[in-house]
Amino acid sequence: MIFQAGRRIVLGSLALACAGLLVSMPARAAQDPRTFIQTFGNTLVSIVNSPIPLGEKKVKILPLVQQNVDIDAIGRFCMGRYWKLATPEQRQTYLSLFHDVLVNTIIDKLGAYRGVTFTIGDVSKSGDLDAVQTTLVLPQQPPADVKWIVSYESGAPKVVDMVGEGASLRMTQRGDYEAYVGRNGGDVASLIKALKKQVAAHTAAATSTD
């Protein structure tokens, strides 16, 4: 018990220190998307590779992702043309669900692995966005090339998209959501209902395997 509490304090203060560092250096990082992705990626990979249960990984990954990824902007983009039709309450509910969906996806994709590594390649510019090329290596899997799209719109560098083998994550997600709402009579509530169901199912599956 004491050990657990001690570890939590140590890890908590470590996380705080990291967060503090990140907050204190956005100006420097803004000039260098490579450093930004390197820092974010290293922290993410170190959590994924640590020998802790999935539930704990999720608790640690959530704040890290919220810090470095512009989840709200991605969420707005994914809703596509239905964003302007949604009421303020619907938007808020949707965005909070979207945070869960996004972190769940990361956990599903990386959570179970140990020994994840990544290397950073070229950095290119397209308009206001920077694209950082990385190669992600999961154990027993062929290496995957992933491009991270970094935006500075919010003042600090934030990830707004990932491109794997030519397919943009947010574009694909928008295709999914728009088609779903469109086939349910253009009703945004149907999307929220489906996402709620999805998040609940994920939680149920996670608790049953823990």
Binding site: E165, A167, T172, D176
Partner: protein, 288 residues
């Protein structure tokens, strides 16, 4: 957040890097002309029936500007028909292909599967080569040619990817991309029984069958049987590579059909761009 997963699904049910072969001459074996005629008539009737059974093949064009923009972006006027094909394909996948692929993964260890995968990739290399030539990309064509020569000899019929170790990694190409390189646009999206496609890529699929030397094997010596086994194995192997991806897609996507469509269209566009922008010199770097 499924882009990374769905990238794999675009080749999902099609084996051998997106091409599935049907050996020529197979129907000739043991089928008389009248029998073929009867079968042809029955097949025609079946097509008519299924067409009549479809409530609609073309989706109505929406009138309000936002819906119209979405309709145009999706580039899928035959959506009702495509969705029917998709549902049928997924049913077949659920009850036949996926269980077989799972059994394959369960029984065959990964190193063996990797080797067999290398063999499938190598045996498709001639088709990649002809398409590279057709697209006017000599460096790519050279790579494909060297890969074929090295892997078929030193690599023991393609089982070992020697070419990759020698600095010639595999690259994909198909007639759909060659046509794209010639400036032919994709045309409407299509979902075919072997996976997502488009008018252009569907035609390209047909051309690829003609470009693959395996479709010209003579009868006898068990070659046709080998070809069938190879093709069916290619499909199972191709599916086994994407078990987790497709499971995740079915679990997470609200509309798997639309997700696959979007990922496929983006991926094809990126592949066509990559082919178009490949201006590497044909001579090695040390020679220049």
């Amino acid at each position: 957040m499924q882009a990374h997963r769905t990238k794999a699904t675009v080749t999902m049910i099609s084996g051998r890097n997106g091409s599935r072969l049907r050996p020529r001459g197979q129907t000739r074996e043991g089928s008389s002309a009248s029998c073929r005629f009867r079968m042809g008539k029955a097949g025609l009737a079946l097509v008519f029936l299924s067409v009549a059974g479809c409530s609609g093949i073309k989706a109505p064009v929406p009138t309000d500007p936002d819906s119209l923009a979405e309709y145009k972006a999706a580039n899928d006027p035959y959506e009702p028909l495509n969705r029917k094909t998709f549902n049928l394909t997924m049913k077949f996948d659920k009850w036949a292909l996926r269980p077989v692929a799972k059994a394959y993964v369960w029984t065959v260890p990964r190193p063996v599967r990797n080797s067999l995968g290398n063999m499938i990739t190598t045996m498709n290399e001639p088709s990649v080569f002809f398409n590279d030539v057709g697209a006017g990309k000599p460096r790519r064509a050279g790579d494909a040619f060297v890969r074929w020569c090295l892997n078929m000899t030193v690599g023991i019929g393609g089982l070992i990817d020697v070419a990759k170790m020698a600095g010639y990694p595999h690259h994909d190409n198909d007639a759909g991309l060659t046509l794209a390189n010639w400036g032919i646009s994709s045309g409407p999206y299509l979902f075919l029984p072997m996976g997502p496609s488009s008018f252009r890529d569907g035609i390209g699929y047909g051309i690829d069958q003609g470009l693959s030397p395996w479709n010209y094997v003579p009868r006898g010596y068990g070659l046709i049987s080998f070809n069938w086994a190879y093709n069916m194995f290619g499909v199972v192997h191709g599916r086994s590579e994407h078990l987790d991806d497709l499971d995740a897609l079915e679990r997470d996507a609200l509309d798997p059909y639309a997700t696959i469509r979007s990922a496929y269209q983006q991926q094809r566009k990126a592949q066509a761009e990559a082919l178009k922008n490949d201006h590497r010199a044909t001579v090695p770097a040390w020679y220049q």
